[in-house]
């Protein structure tokens, strides 16, 4: 099988989808001639033309707003928000417009757009370019949310997002773009909305998504060397949320940990923890533990940056205590 990077898988997904569906246009800052701040749309303008790879001024509210209007009138836009941190600029268009249009208008019309963006730490990008703001999205009914961890999912989840009738926020992880994996993109993908059990063990369930899946798997390998076998669940999409898979494994194993790079308080981990505690209470042998980002802004210092979010080492340490 050929090796492919996360970035190339995303580009391949856009390229293939745009070839199949002529209503898809990409709109955003530097998506055309520059090829995307992280190179995801590199050279697509040569294949699909400038009328479908639309370079915009630096106007995030109008980029998302224009995508909403285009989605209501016959196109399937992919709006690129260069950093998820810029959600602060454009949240009205996403949360008050895109997310609510189908509902407010009584089901007359949907907004089939994809907002592609990237988040997370790992590049010393500082407090305004490193956040994990998926909780803002998950907290907004009407928005779907996909967060691929693997190269194969980067491809398949983006292709699936581009068939959805409702707005999808697609959050890539900036530290994963250069990650390579051997993939067979022709193999049948998991269905949209289904979690992947990346590893199965009987001592502990680790529920996570995006880059933390890789950290959890690394931790699980270390734990295995000490005789602790973890199940690692990669949620892939946070909305829809495949709670059935979580429930099945937590009830089987009895111990659960939730891992998220986002800040802990009122975060995605908090919601998952609450649901597991509520729904699997009788099966739990220990409290559900959250391993999440510290409740602080992200620093540029590599030490402070990496120290403020979960790592494989921290996940392994906590898992060991939880299973002791």
């Amino acid at each position: 099988m050929p090796a492919m990077t996360y970035r190339d898988a995303l580009r391949q997904a856009l390229d293939d989808a745009m070839t199949e569906d002529k209503s898809i246009v990409v709109i955003g800052e530097e998506v055309g001639r520059y090829g995307g701040a992280y190179g995801v749309t590199k050279d697509l303008i040569k294949v699909h033309g400038p009328e479908r790879l639309i370079d915009t001024p630096i106007s995030e509210p109008a980029i998302i707003g224009a995508a909403v209007g285009a989605a209501m009138t016959g196109l399937r836009p992919v709006a690129e928000l260069m950093y998820i941190d810029f959600l602060g600029m454009t949240m009205d268009q996403l949360a008050n417009q895109a997310a609510k249009i189908r509902y407010m208008f009584g089901g007359q019309i949907g907004v089939p757009m994809v907002l592609r963006t990237q988040g997370g730490t790992g590049r010393s990008a500082g407090a305004q370019h490193s956040q994990s703001l998926e909780a803002w999205i998950m907290h907004t009914p009407g928005l779907r949310l996909a967060m691929p961890a693997t190269v194969a999912d980067a491809y398949h989840l983006l292709r699936q997002s581009l068939t959805k009738p409702d707005p999808v926020v697609f959050i890539e992880h900036k530290a994963l773009y250069t990650r390579k994996e051997e993939v067979d993109l022709s193999a049948d993908p998991l269905p949209w909305g289904k979690a992947a059990v990346r590893r199965q063990g009987d001592d502990l369930v680790i529920v996570t998504y995006s880059r933390q899946v890789l950290y959890a798997l690394e931790a699980a390998e270390a734990l295995a060397r000490k005789g602790i076998e973890a199940t690692v669940i990669d949620l892939r999409t946070l909305n829809p949320l495949d709670f059935d898979t979580i429930r099945t494994h937590v009830e089987r194993v009895g111990k659960a940990m939730v891992v998220s790079e986002g800040v802990m308080t009122s975060g995605v981990a908090a919601e998952l923890c609450a649901r597991i505690s509520e729904e699997c209470f009788d099966f739990l042998e220990q409290p559900v533990i959250r391993v999440a980002g510290e409740d602080i802004p992200i620093s540029v210092s590599q030490e402070l940056e990496s120290g403020s979010v979960p790592s494989a080492r921290i996940i392994a340490e906590v898992a060991e205590r939880l299973t002791a």
């Binding site: 001024p57 106007s59 707003g65 209007g69 285009a70 509902y103 089901g107 009738p165």
Partner: protein, 342 residues
């Protein structure tokens, strides 16, 4: 039709009178306690902006409106009964009671939605303009908003993009002098709004909203230019006759100013013009007004008699039909506690 002559001004008068009367009935619906809430923003005094611009729109054209958009939708051809039912939060309304006055929409008439966020609906017309250009729809998309939105950044981002990409887009500011309780000269130093549009490379025009025919003529050339790829901006200068919303008694402005402002009445101006020019008799116009009054009275009956939406419809239309749905909170609680009991 009880009019004696078939002049186009008479048609515009009819549109404006229907808007005026509809808005008066909205006020009555509120007084009778039959409206869904009090966030009702009447466009009395502003009828010429709706009637004049919508008169020159083509069937394929699309538009968004602001929170004071009843008149625009009506001028576009909306069914006032379904509008009133929506304002009453009823199942028979355009949005089945989920949208109400500020979120009414109708795809069949190209109404991409009213908006309760000042400026919120503006960038959608840039996207609609992109669709029109890319899919060769030959449609113009028009954003209607108030002077309050003239101070929102999204307007200028949208103007800039529309001009940059030569989109078939028109921005229409219904300048009723007030953003809630703040008069425009208390909100900005330069109130010559057309200058702002021209600074971005758009056509820009200001028109006195007293005369609906002037509004219509200005809208015509701006829409024609927009369709040909030169986007534009039109400010229609009117006076908001009443408060911001139903609960607002306008304590921020003097009664003498209001009395003066209400003299700028586009409905009465058109009526006088019709009579003075000999196009219509006062009696014929009175008869038309009575006909419209009866039509609009019936909208209240329709709204009051319509059913409220079923509670179960609450979970419908968050996502498309057939897609995973949100689980009702009560259902989840029941499920969790049923396990505990077992």
């Amino acid at each position: 039709m009880t009019l004696t002559a078939n002049s186009h001004l008479a048609e515009l008068y009819r549109t404006m009178r229907r808007i005026r009367t509809f808005e008066e009935r909205v006020g009555e619906l509120f007084v009778r306690g039959q409206s869904a809430g009090s966030m009702l923003h009447l466009s009395i005094g502003e009828e010429s902006s709706a009637a004049g611009v919508c008169d020159v729109m083509k069937p394929q054209d699309t538009f968004t409106t602001h929170h004071r958009g009843h008149g625009i939708f009506l001028a576009r051809g909306a069914d006032p009964r379904r509008m009133m039912a929506e304002i009453g939060g009823k199942e028979t309304g355009y949005c089945h009671g989920k949208g109400g006055s500020m979120h009414i929409a109708d795809m069949a008439l190209g109404h991409l939605g009213a908006n309760a966020i000042v400026g919120g609906g503006i960038p959608a017309v840039v996207g609609a303009g992109l669709s029109s250009k890319y899919l060769k729809q030959d449609s113009v998309s028009i954003a209607f908003f108030g002077d309050g939105a003239m101070q929102q950044g999204i307007l200028y981002e949208s103007m800039n993009m529309a001009a940059l990409w030569s989109l078939p887009v028109l921005f229409v500011c219904v300048n009723n002098q007030y953003g809630m309780g703040t008069r425009i000269d208390q909100a900005t130093r330069n109130t010559a709004f057309d200058e702002r549009a021209r600074a971005f490379g758009l056509n820009g025009a200001v028109v006195n909203g007293l005369d609906v025919e002037e509004v219509r003529d200005a809208a015509r050339w701006l829409i024609d230019d927009a369709r040909a790829g030169k986007p534009g901006f039109l400010s229609v200068e009117v006076y908001r006759f009443f408060g911001h919303a139903r609960m607002d008694k306008s304590p921020y402005r003097a009664e003498v100013e209001e009395l003066e402002g209400r003299k700028k009445d586009p409905v009465l101006f058109a009526r006088a013009k019709l009579i003075e020019s000999g196009l219509e008799s006062a009696a014929a116009l009175d008869a038309l007004d009575r006909e419209i009054a009866a039509e609009m009275d019936a909208t209240i009956d329709f709204a009051v008699e319509s059913r409220a939406p079923a509670l179960s419809s609450m979970f419908r239309d968050v996502y498309a039909v057939g897609e995973p749905e949100p689980e009702p909170v009560r259902a989840r609680i029941d499920r969790v506690l049923a396990r505990e009991d077992a």
